[in-house]
């Protein structure tokens, strides 16, 4: 066991970004509070993305009032599967994934059945703000349920893997893919037990994984290797991450993207305070990469062209 001072010294040497540093030096300085609603409200994000021509899952319905819930059953009848999300939800809380129906009941992603009453209760909880950040009344989005790319079939369990890319001043600086496990209950959140796998930015190949705090090579449920997978549409993904800067106005932002079998990459949400576990998944600290971009900023060489920014990232931010 290492003593805390040794750990701190080593972490500082690799430039690991801590929570205090992330908040004080990046989030507070580069993310203006007036732009927060753009990412905190998923409906706004979606509309902005559509306006900017970025791909998002199709919106089926928006629920703003309690009485709209009852009408939802008929409204959603044409869709076999769909996802209900609170617009201000955080960390995947309150997301309900419906994969099908059985009579009057809904079949959830895990396979369990849900009566109409339970379904309505879940939605009304969401409306009253149970899952939103500050507990304020919220609205709900019902949208297209992603059919995930078969590339990931062998390395996920019961849910949709997504790609998280940290974009700093429009430069994609670090990326990982999050694979759901049995432990995470199909959710792609690392603190709930999903696996994070670091992605090499130039090549789009997965490099190493982390589960909890431990490095892993195989998916714990499917036992398939999670290293060396090629992420499809990688350049497109990087471009989406780069363009989310202009979209959100936020300098330091986490972009969550899913890969659909037919539609390709779709933006799920943006995050103004992206987590730090991406560094464990990549085995590297964020600071050196962020510094490299700050260096560009100081010398006045920041690019306004997302394609140039992706090219810079590809030539500088390799994860080995």
């Amino acid at each position: 066991m290492l003593n805390p001072f040794t750990i701190a010294r080593r972490l500082r040497r690799i430039g690991l970004l801590g929570l205090n540093a992330r908040n004080a030096d990046y989030v507070l300085l580069y993310n203006q509070r007036r732009f927060y609603p753009r990412v905190d409200d998923k409906l706004q994000t979606k509309n902005l993305a559509i306006a900017a021509g970025l791909p998002v899952p199709a919106l089926y319905a928006v629920v703003r009032e309690e009485h709209e819930i009852a009408a939802l059953h008929d409204k959603l009848a044409p869709y076999e599967s769909f996802v209900v999300k609170p617009a201000h939800g955080s960390g995947g809380d309150g997301i309900l994934v419906i994969h099908g129906r059985r009579g009057n009941r809904y079949r959830r992603a895990g396979g369990s059945l849900m009566s109409r009453g339970e379904f309505e209760h879940h939605l009304s909880n969401g409306l009253s703000g149970l899952y939103s950040l500050g507990g304020q009344p919220d609205h709900l989005l019902v949208e297209y349920c992603v059919k995930f790319d078969p590339v990931f079939e062998k390395v996920s369990y019961g849910g949709v893997p997504d790609v998280r890319i940290i974009s700093f001043l429009g430069y994609p600086v670090m990326a990982m893919i999050r694979l759901p496990t049995r432990m995470s209950d199909g959710k792609a959140n690392l603190h709930q037990g999903a696996i994070g796998v670091g992605i090499d930015i130039p090549t789009g190949l997965t490099r190493r994984g982390v589960w909890g705090t431990e490095p892993v090579e195989e998916h714990p449920d499917t036992e398939n290797s999670i290293v060396g997978l090629a992420i499809p549409h990688w350049q497109e993904l990087l471009l989406i991450a780069a363009r989310s800067y202009e979209l959100s106005g936020l300098g330091y932002v986490g972009v969550d993207i899913v890969l659909d079998r037919e539609l390709g990459p779709l933006i799920l949400e943006l995050n103004a305070r992206p987590g730090l576990s991406i560094q464990i998944a990549n085995g590297q600290g964020l600071e050196p990469r962020l510094r490299a971009v700050q260096q560009l900023q100081r010398s006045g060489n920041l690019s306004a062209d997302p394609i140039e920014r992706v090219a810079f990232a590809c030539s500088h931010f390799a994860t080995t």
């Binding site: 805390p4 205090n20 004080a24 009304s124 703000g129 490095p215 464990i280």
Partner: protein, 512 residues
Amino acid sequence: MRKTQLYLVAALMIVIGLAAFYYKWHVLSFPLTPVEQTEVWDIQARVEYQPRSGPNQVTLQLPMNSPGFSILDERFMARGYGMTIERDRAGSGREVQWRIRRARGDQALYYRATVYRDGAVEAPGDRPGQSQPPELEEAETAAANALLEQVREQSVDSASFASRLLREFSEPSPSPEVALLLRERASANDRAQFAVELLAIRNIAARWVHALELGVDGAGELRPYLQIYDTDARIWRMLDAQGRIGWPDNLLVWSRGDRPVLDVDGARGGRFDIRVQSSLVDSLEAAVKRLEFRDENLVAYSLLSLPLQTQDVYKILLMVPIGAFIMLLLRNLIGVKTFGTFMPVLIALSFKWTSLLAGVILFVLVVGMGLLVRFYMERLKLLLVPRLTSILIVVVLIMAFVSVLSNRLGLEVGLSIALFPMIIMTMTIERVSVAWDERGPGYAMKMAAGSLLIACLAYLVMSWPPLEHLVFVFPEVLLVLLGLTLLLGRYSGYRLTELFRFRALARSQTDG
């Protein structure tokens, strides 16, 4: 630029806070710790007499304006008696008159006072009027003149004259003149009165007082002390029976000598005794009194001027910043996660009324029972606000139930549960239950236990008496706290838990 400004503001806060603290501590001598204590004396005067048939009146002289001492508190105990307290017009004396229409058997009346030394000196006063010279027989006149002449030869001023005279009085083998003069004046009080009269012959302003020496605990005695007026300093100087000049340290002036201390039904009589018991009290009380004597405003614009009840509230409120600061340290330096930002501080606050162990037990009891109800309500599919309201109602009912039950069982501590913040408990129940559903029971329990643990820690710090005292008496230390908080506001180093979280990254590295 922004950082320099921050450091400047923080430094300013710390300097102002420390300077004010130093001034109050060093110059105004506010006590630094609550254990600093001041000696006080409880004095009990007991009057005993055989009543005559018909109305009885007892008059007792009371201490007032004794230089060097102040009365903190006084009580009168006389069952069945009517009581009036009178001050004489000159403001130099005070007496209590007890009256009863019909009394039977031995009567006992009590006067109790608590006095403490305030270090105040007697204010200068005008030259008093002259006493009457004594009426003497011929032989006595000759003796008095001889004595005064003899004393005059051995003295330089009025003080030494009086001192010499008293020494002549107290000689074990008195001179023939003294023996003659004092033959009819055997008691100490009569001698003191006589000395005053003799001094009047020589135009020396003098008086005598009954005074009590606060030396040892136990029975005390009022003794006569002579005072002569110093025309230069315009103050009274004290002489004891042996003629020693100066105020003894622990001498409490009880009343003027020209009136009997105790007067029963217009004639001297009855028995009178005094007991003295010294003890220690909080010196803050004494400091405030002292300060009030020196400069009213310093106390008038401080927390110490507030009514006691409000003071008690502020004693607790002023500890909240301390608790919040602990939360800041735990969250931003250690990296502990809790339910709600300041929820543990508010819980810790409520522990103040219950004591720690009882507080934790009661809190777990209420939240646990509330959780059971909450889990049942989950099945009723209530909306958020109605659900919170119903949990709140249940929490209040549980609190009432616990109070009633503990009252029946004779557990007094259960009653203090009424002071628990029920809104906080309601929110805690809701948050624990949501975390339970969302993140699993293990996570919820871990968070709840962590919050409770921090609440305990915050309580232990917040209820540490020296700190409590320090913040209440020196509220300006909160400015220092504000300065430190501002400094920590830009702390961007690692949190302790992050070292643990990212340790795998560090392990793969080598020192090079």
